[in-house]
Symmetry: C2
Subunit: 246 residues, 2 copies
């Protein structure tokens, strides 16, 4: 059982920041290499879900960790408010379209989990619907896994309530962050406890497990994500295909 209040949002004490940064650089380079083989081999794909409260650094992670990956092999889809057409379908309709084809890494900045987070927190769906959706999410992620060799990674960017205030305030104070400021984020912050409850529900009912990433220090965030990805992808023992016989 995951309880967020028991998990630190900061790196372990006495950890050597410089050493971790060097190691992260090595991992990010390695990830670039692995992405290239995945693209060439076209046997597997990866779906990488980044979830977290406003200011938890989803955009930053999507940039830094994948810096050495080719753009043709990585796609980012940022989930916004659904369109009218999307609303006239089940909640996974727009999500399934964005599932990665073999060879590709697909990043989700937010995801189908919002359909049991923001929607549940605000009471737009009831408990029963949230439970039905959780089951549908499990079936969907399992489908990608067994039928398309998709590795599904799910990262929760775990930020403290105090750190979020600093991050949101920076968007007001620093001119080149103004474009990220949204007064609505401060309003959502009032529902913090409810969000934590819904997140915990998702973590504890997911068939594919989550990685909880302490993000109060960005350098530690990148390290954990890169490490998780590289360790798992190495296990696939992917290889460049041989020269085709004429």
């Amino acid at each position: 059982m995951i309880k967020l209040s028991e998990i630190p949002t900061t790196p372990p004490p006495h950890i050597d920041e410089e050493k971790i940064k060097d190691e992260t650089k090595r991992l990010v380079d390695r990830l670039g290499k692995l992405q290239q083989v995945m693209y060439a081999e076209r046997k597997h794909s990866a779906l990488i879900i980044l979830q977290g409260m406003d200011g938890s650094g989803k955009d930053g992670a999507a940039k830094q960790v994948f810096e050495q990956c080719h753009h043709y092999g990585v796609q980012v889809y940022s989930f916004k408010k659904p369109s009218e057409e999307e609303f006239a379908h089940d909640f996974l309709w727009r999500v399934h379209k964005q599932a990665p084809q073999k060879g590709m890494i697909q990043l989700f900045n937010r995801s189908h989990y919002e359909d049991i987070l923001i929607q549940w927190v605000h009471g737009w769906i009831d408990d029963q619907r949230a439970e039905q959706r959780m089951k549908a999410i499990n079936a969907f992620e399992e489908l990608l896994t067994f039928d398309n060799n998709t590795l599904v990674f799910k990262f929760y960017l775990h930020i403290s309530y105090e750190q979020q205030a600093k991050e949101l305030q920076e968007r007001i104070d620093e001119p080149d962050k103004h474009w990220k400021h949204n007064p609505g984020d401060w309003k959502e912050r009032e529902h913090w406890a409810d969000y934590m409850r819904c997140y915990e529900y998702a973590f504890n009912h997911s068939s594919i497990p989550w990685t909880i990433v302490p993000v109060d220090k960005r350098w530690y965030r990148d390290y954990i994500i890169a490490k998780t990805l590289v360790e798992r992808l190495e296990k696939l023992q992917m290889e460049y295909p041989p020269l085709p016989v004429e």
Copy 2:
């Protein structure tokens, strides 16, 4: 447990053909009216799956039964061999895209069931994969039902082995049916027993039940399909929305 060999492919004996045809006409008219309200109300949608061996009359059913429906409210999607892009995804990827939005009737001429029929019959997938796909199909159809008010109808067009031969031969003998002739259909016919086994598996493991439609007589086919649809749609008690208040 459905066993196809125990279900007749012909209408019940002594049934009055003329009476049934009159009744079918009434039902087809009524279906047209129901489709109009569904489109106007935009609360529900319908997914109508037509499956059956070659020559079982899927095209004919899709035309005759929906003759009084508006084209803007009915879409037909005919499933062919997947494209390269579709093959690089899970089997439901291309199917989910075609799920109906609220207000619409979506007809599937063949469907995701082919992924546990033709593929299993020919050994392109093993038993385990077929079972996994069956579970994924159930989860998918349930998702459409609970999250988008989609009524899922599944019709198996039950034709006899002898009647199929006649239908396929007509495609050779009659000039205006030549375009439907495909030598591959005669080859698939050799796998008849395997197809029946896979179909029965699907019927007996589906969470949303199938309607088995005797189709050796086309007039009886249309009657059963129209009757099933109308009876179910009547129960929704759909209504035209009132004039919006300015």
